[in-house]
Structures are given as C-alpha cells and as structure tokens.
Symmetry: none
C-alpha cells in the first residue's frame, strides 16, 4: 500500500515548527507495511490543497491529511474536503455531544466556534477523537482512502494508533515490512561501502540497503518488503549475520542504540566502573555517559582538566611530562588516563587531550590533533587522531572515537 502525507498549515512553511508529525506517521506506517510515497506540506490555501489531493489520489492508495481542523478562521480543511468530495457540511450530533462533555469536564462554556467543530462533510465516516474536540474523517474515492486528522500531535497519534491503523488492518490493506539499522563506527562511509560491496550486491531483491551517515557513525538500514513479517525478519537477520563477519569490529549496535548506552550495558553486566579525564572534549564524554539513565551505577565521575595546573594537581600528570612533550601528546594522555583511573578507583578510564580549535594549532600539531587514551584492567592504549577545523565537530568526533576505543578494550578484556 502506497501513501502520501499532506500537512496543512503555515507553521511548518515558515519554519516556526518542525514537522515531527510526518516523521511519526511515516514510522508507524512503515512498520505496518504502508510505504510513504511522498510527504507534502502546503499552506491553508483552498486551491493548493485541492491540487495536492488530486496529485496524491493519482499516485497513492491512502492519503493522510494533518492539520487545519482547529476552530479558528484560517482552518479550512473541512470546507476544502467538501468541495473535493462534492458534499456539504452537516451537523454531527455524536461529535457535538462529545465536545459538550469535554467542555463540561473542564468547566468551560461552549461558544459558536466550538459548535462548528461538530460540522462534518456528509459523505465521510466520522472517526471519534477521544483526545480532543475535532473528529477524524475517513473518505473513499476511486480506490483511494483519504483520512483527515487534527495536527495536534497527541490527538493525531491517538487517532492513527487506535483508529486508523486498526481500520486499515481490518480492511486487509497493509503489506509486511521489516527494518533494522546497523550502527557502525571507525570506517568512513566510502571505505565502508568498498568493504561491504560484495555483500551489498548479493542482497536479495526485496531487501534494500541505505547509508545514513552522521558525524559520529555510519548507519546501515536494511529494509525487507514481502508478505510475511517473521520471514522478512529472518531474512534481514541472516544478512546482518553475514555482515558481522565482514566488519566485526565496526558494528556497535542496532536501531536506537547509542555508544554510551552500549558501553553502559557492558559495564553493568560485568560489574565494572568507569572514570574520565577530559581536556579538549571539555566534559562532553562525561555528558554522553551521564545522559544514559542508570549510569550512576557504573560511572564514578570525570575531571575536565582544561589547564595544565589541574592536569598536574588533580590528575597527577608530571610537570616534566608536560614540559617535555606538551599537553597534546601521547605521554600526557597516558598519564591522564592512569591518573583519573587511580584517583577514582575505577576499572576503566578514558582520557583526551587535543586542540579543538579554531585557535591553538601549530605546524607540528594542527587544529584537530587529538590524543586519546583508554585504560583497562591490564592495558593502556593511546592513539593519535587528526580531525578537522570545526571546534564543535572535533569535540563530538573525539568523544565518540574515545567511546569506541573504550568499547573495543572492554570487549577484548572480557
């Protein structure tokens, strides 16, 4: 089943709000085997909405409209739907009863604008909205289903989840689809693509691969479309098994996993603890770790040692080491990581020292130069990286790389 989402209203087109409704609907529909052909955002403009409806009807089996159902003047969706389906607004008694009840519960008086919310196009099936006053509306025309729901996110979600999707399933309209996203780290997109090219070319025809890079990871999304969900799941899982053999070190998780969360689970399982000493990452690694709920059970703490003074006094880096090698050096990274590990009595530790930029670079150590060290139960690993010239990205990439090094060390020592 192919679908188009049409959002109606100016808020999205002037950039006042981000269209989270469409992302939510798209995710729900995909999970239920409804492919989204297009998402279209249009103004509260009759002609424009009529055009969008016509185009959507030509291309898809299901059109979902959000927004434009409020009580105020600029909400014209219902009038436009009447014109499109050649019908007229009629008063819908059950909807009016529902509105009256909601206002009574909140001790608010009804006005004429609220009464107008009980007007619905005569030819539609009214879908009760238990979370708000404006009802959903269901139309059918030339094998295309049209559903109109309010734009208020929780009302929309309630209607889609509890009314629209069950009705579609009952009508036998939905295909099976299965997605899984593989999260990788440590290989840029182009190198990863080369490494897995043969695997990609051998994917079954109904399984699609998409690359979704972001500054910290390259995500590989596998989507299988077919008739039977358990079969599709098996198919995707078996492809992922093959992939694991090709890039075993690079896959750190799936779907909504985060590196900090994955590390947290490893530490919790093994009853181990973690501490961090940060220079160039300035607290961001500590923030990533503590963003995970429950991290207090394995995270002892962190020290942002921005000045050499703090590196010496709190992390016990030797003044001589700093003098001879400079703060951005392997030796300092190693002393920092051992310093914080000892000081906080932790099983694992991370340290970073580098030049986040945009100032502070030299010929030998340009902006973006970072030394990262991780310490485990029997080993300290230090590694130099040269990232780019953007401070924000250098902080993010250094932090994610440090977490990746830690994850590998933990896995090695398990």
């Amino acid at each position: 089943m192919k679908s188009e989402i049409i959002t109606i209203g100016d808020e999205i087109l002037i950039g006042q709000i981000v269209d989270t409704n469409s992302a939510w609907i798209a995710e729900q529909f995909n999970r239920n085997g409804i492919e989204i052909y297009q998402i279209t955002s249009v103004h509260d403009d009759k002609k424009h909405i009529l055009e969008a409806l016509k185009k959507a009807e030509e291309k898809t089996d299901l059109v979902i409209l959000t927004g434009g159902l409020g009580p105020t003047k600029d909400d014209i969706t219902k009038k436009v739907l009447c014109e499109y389906f050649n019908t007229k607004l009629v008063f819908h008694e059950p909807t009016f009863e529902h509105i009256k009840q909601r206002f009574k519960n909140r001790n608010i008086d009804l006005n004429k604008l609220n009464r107008n919310q009980a007007l619905v196009p005569e030819s539609c099936t009214v879908i009760p909205n238990s979370a708000g006053t404006a009802p959903g509306m269901w139309f059918e025309k030339n094998d295309t289903i049209f559903v109109s729901v309010p734009g208020v996110p929780f009302e929309m979600k309630n209607l889609v989840e509890n009314e629209i999707l069950p009705r579609l399933e009952n009508n036998g309209k939905t295909k099976a689809i299965y997605h899984k996203t593989v999260l990788t780290q440590g290989l840029p997109e182009s190198m990863l693509a080369q490494k897995i090219e043969k695997w990609e070319d051998a994917l079954p025809e109904n399984v699609k691969l998409a690359y979704l890079p972001n500054p910290t990871a390259v995500r590989l999304r596998l989507s299988a479309i077919g008739k039977e969900k358990t079969m599709l799941k098996k198919q995707v899982e078996s492809e992922i098994e093959k992939l694991q053999k090709i890039i075993p070190d690079n896959i750190f998780g799936y779907d909504t996993d985060t590196l900090a969360g994955v590390i947290g689970n490893l530490l919790k399982e093994k009853g181990k603890t973690l501490s961090v000493a940060e220079s160039c990452t300035g607290g961001y690694i500590s923030h990533l770790i503590t963003s995970v709920s429950g991290s207090s059970s394995y995270f002892k703490g962190a020290i942002t040692a921005y000045s050499n003074e703090i590196k010496e006094e709190i992390l016990e880096v030797k003044p001589k080491t700093l003098q001879e090698n400079g703060a951005v050096s392997e030796q300092v990274a190693r002393e920092m990581v051992l310093g914080v590990k000892g000081k906080m009595n932790a099983d694992y530790a991370i340290s970073t020292t580098g030049i986040a930029g945009p100032e502070g670079g030299t010929t030998g150590k340009p902006v973006g130069t970072v030394w990262i060290a991780v310490a485990g139960q029997s080993e300290v690993i230090a590694q130099k990286y040269v990232f780019g010239d953007n401070r924000e990205r250098n902080i993010i990439r250094s932090s994610q790389t440090a977490l990746q090094m830690l994850r590998r060390l933990i896995l090695k020592e398990l």
Copy 2:
C-alpha cells in the same frame, strides 16, 4: 519570491529522521523575504524526483533540493539533475582539489567513490562546500533558480547561509531585511509579553516582533523589512534601546550569543577564572563552557562527581554532610562549590546536585529536584529548583539555570 523545498532520500519517508533541514531553511528564507510555497519529501527515485522538479518549476521561482549527494550508490540526485537540465557529468578539478585536501588533512586515503564526488553537471555553477566534500550546485531554467545542497545539516546550513542567500541578495532576488534577536532570561513568555506590551504596540509598521521561546531562554526577534539595509538596522537598534530600558536585567545577549559565551567575555574582561562541580548535570555545564572558543583562558576545569565517594575524596564534601542531608541538598551544593573553587584555585565556581531521573526520586525529593550553588569572591548563593521528569530536559535546564545564576553573581560583584 516563491520557493519550494524538495528533500530527497528515504530516511524522512520511513520516519527514521525528522526533517529539521526544511524547518531551518524555511525559517531562513522567510526571514529573507522568500515565501515557501511547498515542502516536498520524495524517495531516491529518478522518475519521482523529475516529476517533483517539474511541478516545482511551474509554481515557484526558487527550488532548493537537499540530500542525495553522498558518495554511495543510493545517492542519485546528480544524475537526475543531469537528465532534467539535459547536461552531463564532468570532472570538476577545483572540487577534486578541495576533496583531496580534506582527506589529506585527516590522513585518509581517497578512493574512487570520493573521486566521483568531484563529478558535477556541466551546466551548473558549482558552489564550494567548505564544510564537506559534496559541492552545492546552482542551475537556472525559465526564470526558476534550482539549488542542490547536501542533506548533512551543518553542510547544508553553511552553504545556505554563506553562499546561497548572499548570491540571491546580490542578484537582487530578495528584499532588504534586517533581523536582530534579543535574548532574555528570567521571565516566562507570558510575563515578558505583559511587561513589554506598550513597547510592542508602538513598534513601526514595518518592524515585526516574534517570540521564540526555548527551554532555556525567551528570544525576541525583531525583523524590519524595507528598501535600505542601513536604515532598517538603525530602526531596529533604536527599538532595542527602548526595550533595554524596560527590561535591563533580563537581556543577556543578542542573536547567536550564548550564556556561556557571555559569561566568558565577562570573565575575560575582568581577568577572572571559573571552575565547576557537577553531579546531576554530569559534565554538561563543563561542555557548554568549553564549547566557547578561547575558554581555556578563563576556565580551569570541572569535576563530574557522580558518586558520593568522588564528592568526598575530590571535592572534600564532608561524609557527615552527605549522611545528614543526602547528596541532593543545599549543604552538599555549598560544600561542592567551595570544594571545587578551592581545589582549582578559581575566582568563581558552580555546583549542581539533583535527581535527573527518570529513576531515583522520593516523596520528599521528586525527580527534577536540583540544588544549584554559585560562589564568587565574597558570596555563595544556593537555590533549589524543581524541574520536570524528563532526564534530558532536566540536565539542560539545570545547566542553563546555573549559568544564569553565575552571570548575575558576576555582574553583582563587578
């Protein structure tokens, strides 16, 4: 000028990512007097993209395409653009040099896929992308301008801000417009609105006010539209002068200022230093401070003391204080702030201790309870807050509130 945004790629249509790019572009365009007629999200599908281009050309003067420019197989935008503009891909030497340089800086070898990013449609104007490898492309056809930019948000933003909008202005395509955003803190939106009502009502007709609230500040954006930019600037500045007299304590900065940056400037001016002790904010305050370039000149460092052990051993909080009051208490916040200030020999310090959630709340201290303390040269101020039940928002709000308290203390002591 009328514009359509076309986003290309499956991620949005399967609901894996929320389309924040379009909201950002829409806001920028609107601020520059370019109306957004429609936002359309389509698949990586040649026929579909061609159709979308055709429809957009019929209706608008400017079409901006985002996404589909990565080095991998599923990115087909360039090929489709060649077909649409009846041209072919040619090798673009300056782009290749730029790509080579970026890879060289990062010590990564180029492969064939990277080389392909230097292929561009022959008839386009190549727009250099200083933040990434895929260049922007500018086409003109029948009075419509088409611009293609990468979908990676910071690359897209960099190109739109620094290349596309200036080119449109130089071509006389956009009206003169001047914006300035006033950043306020300490008054909720509704109270602020009451306080500045008269000033707002007396604004000249061509100057518009928009409230842009976010979890940490209420921003007031003034936009003046007219013919001549220097005049508009004068007009806006004179309105802001009046506003400053009404809410002198609440304005902390303008436009892209951040609280951490404003504090940094105050500290730099006065030659003072800062240190931080964090429990519930987990390194986020340290991250905000060190996100400011040049912060190493006034920021000594931070300690994330997640466990009581670290609070005692490193911050020298007395075990008795912890036992008698619990970690989330005024006494512990006060001892933490003095501990870190002394330990790091700083002029100013911040501490936080609270329950970020979702677990760990009690009847007396529900999730969201936070004690924040700031210490200056002669005074320690501690304050209790009760935020909500969302971990991420609690961390952000606690951090911003702590910075606000610090800013006020610094101003008081100057």
